[in-house]
């Protein structure tokens, strides 16, 4: 800490320099293990490489699973209407079923799948981050 000595000799004409306070920068001791894993990621060691591969695989599996849901849920409709024409003639509240399914119901369905994806993909990333920062777990 620097210490300001009062300057008594120069009289009262010159205002004393303002008192300053010096604070040491806060030292954060990095978690050495987390640091090591981050370095492994950056330097593409085999451990880091395996971690990234795991994340990519998890995200791709999630995306493929949800596309399968859409492929069956929506992609199956033309085929279903083709093999079971009576389905197309069914009416709900005076409207034929294909009009309701395609014109109305498909949009909330797509949004629901998208919402699920955003949640699950963020969870995958959180798991990855936890793994990198606390490798002992």
């Amino acid at each position: 800490m620097a210490k300001q000595l009062p300057d008594v000799g120069s009289g009262g004409a010159v205002p004393p320099p303002r008192r300053t306070r010096i604070v040491l920068a806060e030292i954060t001791r990095p978690d050495s293990r987390a640091e090591r894993t981050r370095t492994e990621l950056a330097q593409q060691t085999q451990v880091g490489e395996a971690l990234v591969r795991g994340l990519v695989r998890a995200q791709l599996a999630l995306a493929l699973r949800l596309s399968l849901v859409v492929a069956i849920g929506l992609g199956g409709l033309p085929w279903l209407f083709a093999i079971a024409p009576s389905l197309g003639r069914t009416t709900v509240a005076g409207v034929n079923l294909p009009w309701l399914l395609l014109g109305v119901a498909s949009f909330p369905f797509l949004i629901a799948v998208g919402w699920a994806y955003v949640r699950l993909a963020e969870r995958n990333e959180q798991d990855f981050t936890d793994l990198v920062q606390r490798p002992e777990r």
Binding site: L55, F81, P85, W99, P108, V113, G114
Partner: protein, 546 residues
């Protein structure tokens, strides 16, 4: 048409667009402001802007026209246009943002490090962009001709000029505000009249959409034919009509059957069944594939992702876009269905794309409400042309300025904008007979067979090589472009060849994937050495970066 509110409404939309553009110009101070809006745009604004940019003439006018003409089978267009954002969300959004690529050619160079692939991607961006711009200008010409009686070129040139000037002067930041405003305008312009139309339908004692004796004219109608067609009159006579022919019908007359249109109640109301028409089923699946996978390859969609601060924000933005776009697509179907009751003459004149603009006047009459709502719809249609063309023009001009002119300066971008806007304007003046949605569908097919495999394999598969990517894009995208050229320029086909060419995605998309994977495996040694670093960057959260 004696509606004196339409022209002021269109002028107002245009002035507001230009006005916000100039407001944005004052805010844009640096090159980064100008080109990528300094990445300071919130996800909600960004999502509304993406939605505003995406909902084009095909969405605003085309879908309703197709529903009027063909019925339930074409509902796959709105479903596919919305589902395209889900595919984008699942496979592309976050990694693409993390890659830091601003355009598709940037992505090619980042991932595969090949200059030649970059040039190929640039050529495809320009082709898709122009293919998509032409129907926007065409829709503008058609709308202005329908509602204000101006000659076709006036509307097309007006939109081309306004958009070129606005993009050249305001850049991306202005565009974001303009686009977000235009999303809400488009939604309002379809939603408010839809409420009045539904009430009118109730007040008219709910006329049946598919009456048992076939559709009839509700009022005395004179039809001026715009496209050649063969009519089957109720007494069984067959009559050929040519453009310019005038037909007069009294109120209550049955609507004659028109060639090439779903006339039968069951054709229109029910999906195509197995057995009687396998080609219908093939075309449906092809359309699904093109729209689901094509969205991610459209150049103007991709540019927007760079304005998100990070990968997680890109994902959330995409989800909001999906919701906004899905809400919008509930409406055009309603217009197509009510058009079957109130504007059957469009089936004969061939101008089905005009149904959205004409329906309020036809259903609500010439009273004040009818005229105001017709003006609102026309304003919304103009918002659609202006916003989609702005987005396309920004991205096409972006690649032209960096990859063709080789200058990254604001002045280079302005020059590129003029080039990028001029070419489609000239093309639009020479093709007025094409269906708006058909051309847009082809643009999706080209994008789905070129950039979709490139993005998906580039993001998720380490084995992709530059030669593999180039071969896949050339073979798949080339086949789709060939189909476009045959459709636009070639002789009419029939049977299976016609279906394969009109809806090419079901064979061109798998072809592109197969060629890309096969050639990459064969040239395995050319895989970039830094692929592990690229994967790390694309897929790990930004917070972990060192």
């Amino acid at each position: 048409m004696g509606n004196d509110y339409v022209v002021p409404a269109i002028v107002a939309v245009t002035l507001v667009t230009v006005g916000i553009g100039f407001y944005g110009l004052r805010l844009a101070r640096t090159t980064s402001d100008f080109l990528v809006a300094s990445r300071a745009i919130s996800p909600t604004w960004n999502a509304a802007a993406i939605g505003g940019e995406y909902l084009s003439a095909a969405s605003f006018l085309g879908i309703a026209g197709l529903v009027l003409k063909y019925g339930v089978d074409v509902l796959w267009y709105p479903v596919g246009f919305a589902a395209g954002y889900l595919a984008l969300l699942l496979f592309v959004a976050a990694p693409l943002r993390r890659s830091g690529a601003f355009t598709l050619p940037d992505f090619c160079e980042l991932r595969l490090g090949s200059r030649r692939l970059r040039i190929l991607a640039t050529a495809f961006v320009i082709f898709i962009g122009w293919l998509y711009l032409v129907p926007q200008l065409q829709g503008a010409g058609l709308t202005l001709a329908t509602v204000a009686g101006s000659p076709y070129p006036v509307g097309a040139l007006l939109v081309a000029a306004v958009v070129t000037a606005n993009v050249a002067l305001g850049g991306m930041r202005a565009i974001t505000f303009v686009q977000a405003f235009q999303y809400w305008l488009k939604l309002t312009a379809l939603a408010v009249p839809a409420i009045f139309l539904a009430l009118q339908w109730q007040a008219d004692a709910r006329p049946a959409v598919t009456p048992p004796d076939g559709p009839t004219f509700r009022t005395a109608t004179t039809v001026v034919v715009e496209h050649r067609a063969t009519l089957t009159l109720p007494d069984g006579d067959i009559r050929e009509v040519r453009p310019g022919d005038e037909l007069t019908f009294a109120a209550g007359d049955p609507v004659p059957e028109v060639s090439g249109v779903a006339n039968d109640a069951s054709d229109w109301l029910l999906p195509s069944a197995a057995g009687d028409d396998d080609r219908g089923l093939f075309a449906t699946y092809s359309l699904i594939l093109a729209t689901f996978l094509g969205t991610m390859g459209l150049p103007h969609v991709l540019v927007r992702f760079y304005t998100n601060p990070d990968g997680a924000a890109a994902r959330r933005t995409t989800l909001v876009v999906l919701a906004l776009v899905g809400a919008f697509y509930l409406l055009p179907t309603l217009y197509g269905v009510l058009g079957r009751i109130y504007t059957p003459q469009l089936l004969i004149s061939g101008q089905t794309d005009a149904v959205v603009v004409l329906l309020p006047g036809a259903a609500l009459g010439d009273g004040l409400a009818g005229r105001l709502l017709a003006a609102l719809v026309a304003a919304g249609a103009f918002a659609a042309f202006l916003s989609t063309s702005s987005g396309l023009l920004t991205s096409v001009a972006g690649v032209i300025s960096t990859d063709v002119l080789g200058r990254g300066s604001v002045r280079g971008f302005r020059l590129a904008t003029v080039i990028a806007g001029g070419v489609p304007a000239v093309l639009a003046l020479n093709v007025s007979g094409l269906d708006v949605s058909q051309v847009v569908g082809l643009a999706f097919a080209v994008a789905a067979s070129s950039f979709c495999p490139l993005l998906v394999l580039g993001i998720w598969w380490r084995g992709l090589t530059d030669l593999g990517a180039a071969a896949g894009v050339l073979v798949g995208g080339g086949a789709a472009i060939g189909a476009v050229l045959v459709t636009v320029l070639g002789a009419p086909l029939s049977g299976w060849p016609a279906t394969l060419i009109a809806q090419p995605a079901a064979w061109t998309v798998p072809l592109a994937f197969i060629v890309m994977v096969a050639v990459s495996v064969a040239t395995r040694r050319r895989a970039p050495a830094d692929v592990a670093a690229t994967m790390l960057r694309l897929h790990t959260p930004e917070a972990l970066r060192l």
